[in-house]
């Protein structure tokens, strides 16, 4: 039964991917040292800037992976219509108003099971083109699951039927920022800042490719 449900889930995601690719026709670029393919044998924590409701779908179109999960805030997941719909495509709920340990554990389990979990570390939709400050919870998840963090930059303000552009970044590893076996909070904050700065570089690099 579990295998059947998994096949159904994969088929559903495949159909969504093909339909949305017709609308957005994503053009992907990769930063130096980055790969357009996610690791197959391990989970990955994908982080992306968040400028609109279509970003989770765009992330699937960019990474072309069906084994994906998304972390979605409680205000979207608790709605009567969108909640079940989001859960059916692999979204997991997190309550931003409390220390949601159970959500963190579910995310770590998904990563350990080999899924690519997409989170939006700014914590919400940004209305301007500037990249907001990154929260450090994502690094805690990546450290617990021992998986790389792959940044993705989605060009904002692209309308339907216009070609969506995206930049895929190189993977970051928590162990590169920690002196000991586990990173301290200060080291995690440093890594969050490094990821934020790299996301800004990706934004500039994508602008450069658009000009040329």
């Amino acid at each position: 039964m579990k295998r059947f449900l998994m096949k159904l889930h994969v088929g559903f995601m495949c159909a969504i991917l093909r339909i949305f690719n017709l609308f957005y026709r994503v053009r992907r670029e990769a930063m130096p040292g980055a790969s357009k393919r996610l690791p197959k044998k391990s989970g990955t924590l994908v982080i992306a800037n968040h400028t609109g409701l279509k970003d989770p779908v765009l992330t699937v179109c960019v990474l072309r992976s069906l084994k994906m999960r998304f972390l979605v805030a409680e205000n979207a997941m608790d709605k009567k219509v969108t909640g079940p719909l989001l859960r059916s495509v692999g979204c997991m709920r997190i309550d931003r108003n409390i220390c949601d340990l159970q959500a963190i554990k579910k995310c770590v389990k998904a990563l350990c099971d080999g899924f690519a979990l997409t989170v939006f570390p700014e914590g919400g939709i940004q209305t301007d083109q500037a990249i907001g400050t990154f929260k450090t919870g994502m690094i805690l998840m990546a450290m617990q699951a021992n998986v790389p963090i792959v940044p993705v930059y989605l060009a904002p303000g692209i309308r339907l039927w216009h070609r969506q552009r995206a930049m895929i970044g190189k993977p970051f590893y928590v162990k590169d920022f920690s002196k000991g076996k586990f990173a301290t909070m200060a080291e995690m904050n440093e890594m969050a800042k490094a990821l934020h700065d790299y996301e800004q570089q990706m934004q500039q690099a994508l602008e450069e490719t658009r000009r040329h």
């Binding site: 220390c99 450090t136 919870g137 617990q144 909070m185």
Partner: protein
């Protein structure tokens, strides 16, 4: 138990963390300066060290280090 918790605080917050400020009356956020992510990290480390499981409700009820100690006295397996 407080000694073991102090080691965990150092693991989470770093060697610069003033461990002598950790006492049963220390308030987790205002006295020790932990935010939500550092509290989650602390709780995960405590779960591994003491063989205990926390629910979201129990975490939101912790205000002082003493609250954590009392919880561990009832539920710890290691």
């Amino acid at each position: 138990m407080l000694d073991r918790l102090s080691v965990i605080f150092t693991q989470v917050m770093g060697d610069d963390f003033p461990v002598d400020r950790v006492s049963c009356d220390s308030r987790i956020t205002s006295d020790l300066g932990l935010n939500s992510v550092s509290l989650l990290y602390l709780v995960l480390a405590i779960e591994e060290e003491f063989g205990v499981s926390f629910s979201n409700e129990s975490i939101s009820s912790f205000e002082t280090v003493g609250d954590i100690c009392r919880y561990l006295e009832k539920n710890a397996t290691k």
